[in-house]
Each structure stands twice: as structure tokens, then as C-alpha cells.
Symmetry: C2
Subunit: 334 residues, 2 copies
């Protein structure tokens, strides 16, 4: 029931996803008086869908710290409970991000070896895509957190994105003397001493995110969130400039007609709906956050991310890698 | 003598700038055996130029902490000395950023009321441009620093960019519960209680930088540096995508020919050379850093920024505003 266009786009998104993933089944948590009539109109979808009725929902402006206590019958919370209890493989929500993180962390609990979950998502680059984490699950952080983000990102890139030997970069700034804080320097050293040593590229800068210098960019939630939104805003700005240019003269309009097909392909390539779905990694359960303003196509992408994570059992692999890293650390310490 | 293409582009840049600012005079610090023959070729420039010979220079990989002690005869340091001694109104350099900051802070000293200088620069937006600071002069920071950055940014936007009543935003992230750290919350409160209260827009997010939500974006040096470089990288990526699209078919190539004029105008509009020149604000002297890889046109832009700052006596205004803010704070505290 969350997001700007629920439940309509959630149903329509599931209807797209069911064709892509014929073995997927869906439990819709929400108000059946809203869901049932819409569901009936989407031929084929009712066969793979079950409705779990609740009239409560998390609103966009609900405070996470509050709703986590009072919202036990909300559609979001019941969906998370279903993941916890193994009735669902994962949850996909377009609702309140803060509430989703708070409820998911509280209910699903962290994986062993992970002190803090991280929000991860991917960016388009010239050659493919870059995975970045954390994007806002944490504001404060230490070197251990960054190393754990690196472990989670590497597993995700390898198992879900299919990158053979994903490289990892730590986001930092350029000027030598003031380069980074202690946590960054320490995390770099820990990565160099770890199993991931040959995957660790070193420090990268902001421009390395879109240029795809590494497969996984590791950063704290504050910096990651700012970088992600700055990149989205810049892409939108340049898109606006290009549109304005094509409208600026009759010749340019004619040019647009000739180039339309190529430009349409470009639009598809950079379509934010293709990159929809931020993964909350490090939890005992799959949790994917869709952009609140997305449409059915975007929501289907987010469902796809969750399906992939469930099928590849990403959380198991993360737990294994994190445990191995812990054992190595305690051996080194002893 | 600094930057990738020195001293050639420095001379050629001065040659462009002298036509734009007929009352400007230049002192070139560097090796006269390299400078003199090049200078002679640029008719008119020798009339407004004086060479201050030195054979030493700061190299790109010199460590700031070291060169600040050993580099007292470098062209960079001598140029800063000239500003300190009033023989020059300001310094423009395309050299080692860390060295320039370290030498400028040490030599020119901070303005009264400013605990830390900040690096500032502007971005293009749909409607004009956004000023952002700090971009990397500081990694650690507190609320006072952020408030001082706001004071400096407001003065710069008003006096140099000519923005009538510049609005100020504090860069933060979205999710309510984890919004910002203590320094950010405290700085926001201080700004609401200050003379700048009606200029203070509140918190902004990464996408607000390119969209031009506010005239001045205030942030710490780490976040600002990452945001700036992410934006530059994203703009380059989208530019690359557009170029690829126009090459992707014969029709698209024909379209490009029709739209060429409009696209060329767009290229001029987003030309990084138009935004070259980062200002080190908060010092007792004008100090502008040009991109190391810029050309003569870009270097001339950076010179123009310095000329404007000198003419508008920006540093005096910053000192006045900072002093007023301090008096107000101590009155409030008493």
C-alpha cells in the first residue's frame, strides 16, 4: 500500500513480473476492498496472488521510530513478518523508506557477522553498472562497517549481477594531505589484509562512480545518499538541457526527428526504472525498496531484484563471507 | 608554472583576460627562460605583464605538508607572498591544490571571524548557477564552520555573482529519523537564529544542487568534493551516451547535422571552462584555483573570478559579516 501510486502500480508491476518469473508467487498485503476489484481486471494475476487483508498502512510522513511500535498491523509490517516466518522469500515495498528500514532491521534481524545493514543500489555506467552502498541506512560508521559493506557488495555483484571478479573501491576525496578520515584509512588497510585483497582497487573519487572504475563503490550512508541524488539530479539536468536544445530551432526539431530512434534507445538505456530497487543488505531476509514515485515497469524491476536475491540465496553467501572474515580477524588478533 | 599545460595556457589565458579586464595587470611567477620567449609571441600582453623570475616550482605530486616548508622560492609561494605584501590583488594557480591551500592558509592567514577557509565553486543549473562550499578544504567540521561557510557563500553570491537575495541550503539526506548529524542540526538552528534567517531555506538534498533549489549549498569538504566530482562524472557520462546515440545509425548522424548548431550552443552552455576557478574563501587575500587540465579559455575564466573578487572587495564583506555574526553570538551567550 506504499508509494505515490499504490496499490495500482504494485498490482500492475506484479503482473509484469509474473511473466518474467513464471515460478514466482505473490502475497499482497493491504486493503482487500481496494485490491480485489483491481486484481480481477488483471487476467492471469489472480492465479499467482493471494491477498492478506489489513486496513492499516504506513503513511509517507509516519515517523519510523513511532510506527515501528504502533504499526504492527500495517501492510508493511505484516509483509515483513511473512518474510521472517518464511511464508515469503522477500518483501518489496514502495513505501516510507525510514519505516521500512526500521521495521526490517527490528523484525528480520541482522545476519551474523554484520553489525549494520546497508542500502545498496546500482548506477548505469558506460560499460555496465556500478553497485554502491551504503545509500542512507547509516549516518555514523566505522571501519568495520565499511569492510562489511565491501563484503556484502562483493557477494551481491558476483551472485546477483553476475560480475566475475568484482572490484571494490572505497569512496574518498583527492587531495593527498587531507585524504579521508581515520575510518576510511583503517578500512582500506583491513581490506588489503583480507580475503578481498585482490578485489580491492583502493580509493576512488566521485567521478569514478559513473565512469565505472570499480564494480562496487563502498561509502557511508550520508555520502552515498548525497552522491546518488546528485547523480540523479545531474542526469535529469543534462536531459533537460538536451530537450531544450532540440526545441530551440526548427532545424534542431528536424534533427530530432531523424535522430529520434537513437535517442529513444538512449532514453531506454538511462531509464531510471531499469535501475529501480534498492536492496537492504545484511538482514536475515530479502528486503527491496522501490522508488516511491515509480510506475509498474519500475516496480517490476524491484520485484525482479528480490526474486534474484531469493533464488541466489545471497544472504547465505553474505553470512558465510562475513563469518570467514570474522574468523580471520580473530585469528589475526590472537 | 602549475597545472598540466603550464606555462603556455597561463600566458594564453592572461592574454584573453587582458582584453576582458583592460585595467588588470599581471605578475608572472616562474622561469623567465620559459616565459620570455612565449610572452614575446603574444602581442599586447607584455605591456600589462611583469615577470618575477624563479626556477623553483611546486610539482603535482609534492606533498603539501612538506612543500609548505621547503618550497619558499617556488613560483606558487612567491605569488602568494606578493598577495600578502599587497603587490598583487590575488593569485590564480592551476597547480597542486593541496599545496596551494596549505601555502595560502599559512601565508595569507584567515580572516577574523573565520575558523576555517573553504573551497567554493559553481555549478550550472537550469536557471543559472549554484554556488557550493566546502569542496575539500576541510574533512572534519563542526556547526560553527558550516555557519561560516554559509556567511561566506552568501556574500560571494551577492557581491560577485550579483544574486539579489541569495538563498542558502544545508546539504543533508532525506530519511526523517536519520536525517543528518548533530553538526548539521545545530548549524541549521544557528542559521535560523542568525541575520541570515530569511536567506536560510533549510536542508537540501543532492538532487537540489543541479536543480538550483537554492543559490548557495553549504556542506562539509568531504561531501562537497564527492558531490562535485559525481556531478562532473555524471555529466560526462550522459554526454558520452548522447554522442554514442548520434553515431549509432546513419539517420542519427543526419539528425546530428540538422541539430548541430543547437547542440553546439548546449556544449557552450555546459562547457566546464565556463565554470573553471574554485575560490579559497575566508583568507586575507584572493586565491583562485584553476582546474589543472584546463586550457587558455578556462584559465581566463579563473582569472576573471579573481578580478571580480578583488574589485568587489569580497574579503572585506566576509570579514564584516563574520564579525557581526560573532558579536551577535556573544550577545546571545551573555
Amino acid at each position: 500500500m506504499g508509494g505515490d501510486n499504490a496499490p495500482h502500480i504494485v498490482l500492475a508491476g506484479a503482473n509484469i513480473a509474473r511473466l518474467r518469473y513464471p515460478d514466482a508467487r505473490f502475497i499482497l498485503f493491504g486493503d482487500e476492498t481496494e485490491l480485489t476489484p483491481r486484481l480481477k481486471k488483471l487476467r492471469g494475476l489472480p492465479d499467482v496472488v493471494e491477498i492478506h487483508h489489513t486496513s492499516e498502512r504506513v503513511l509517507a510522513d509516519d515517523k519510523p521510530s513511532q510506527i515501528v511500535r504502533t504499526g504492527k498491523q500495517t501492510s508493511m509490517r505484516l509483509a515483513i513478518d511473512a518474510v521472517k516466518e518464511g511464508r515469503a522469500g522477500g518483501i518489496v515495498s514502495a513505501g516510507n523508506t525510514g519505516a521500512l528500514m526500521a521495521m526490517a532491521v527490528l523484525t528480520l534481524r541482522r545476519l551474523p557477522g554484520i553489525s549494520r545493514p546497508a542500502m545498496a543500489s546500482f548506477f548505469p555506467t558506460l560499460h555496465g553498472e556500478t553497485l554502491m552502498l551504503d545509500l542512507g541506512a547509516n549516518v555514523s560508521y566505522d571501519a568495520d562497517n565499511l569492510v562489511q559493506f565491501a563484503i556484502m557488495g562483493e557477494v551481491f555483484a558476483r551472485e546477483v549481477l553476475g560480475t566475475k571478479e568484482p572490484t571494490i573501491g572505497l569512496l574518498n576525496i583527492g587531495s593527498e594531505d587531507i585524504k579521508g578520515n581515520e575510518a576510511l584509512k583503517q578500512a582500506a588497510q583491513m581490506l588489503r589484509d583480507s580475503d578481498l585483497a585482490d578485489r580491492f582497487y583502493g580509493f576512488v573519487e566521485g567521478n569514478d562512480i559513473p565512469s565505472g572504475t570499480v564494480d562496487v563503490v563502498v561509502t557511508d550512508g550520508f555520502t552515498g545518499n548525497v552522491a546518488l541524488k546528485t547523480a540523479e539530479g545531474t542526469a535529469k539536468l543534462i536531459g533537460g538541457f538536451v530537450r531544450e536544445a532540440f526545441k530551440s530551432s526548427v532545424l534542431a526539431q528536424v534533427g530530432y526527428l531523424f535522430a529520434k530512434r537513437a535517442l529513444d534507445k538512449l532514453r531506454v538505456r538511462t531509464d531510471p526504472r531499469r535501475y529501480n530497487g534498492a536492496m537492504l543488505l545484511g538482514l536475515n531476509g530479502v528486503c527491496v525498496k522501490s522508488h516511491g514515485a515509480t510506475d509498474a515497469v519500475g516496480f517490476a524491476t524491484a520485484i525482479g531484484v528480490a526474486v534474484d536475491m531469493v533464488k541466489k540465496a545471497v544472504n547465505n553467501s553474505i553470512a558465510e563471507r562475513a563469518a570467514a572474515a570474522q574468523i580471520k580477524n580473530s585469528l589475526a588478533a590472537s
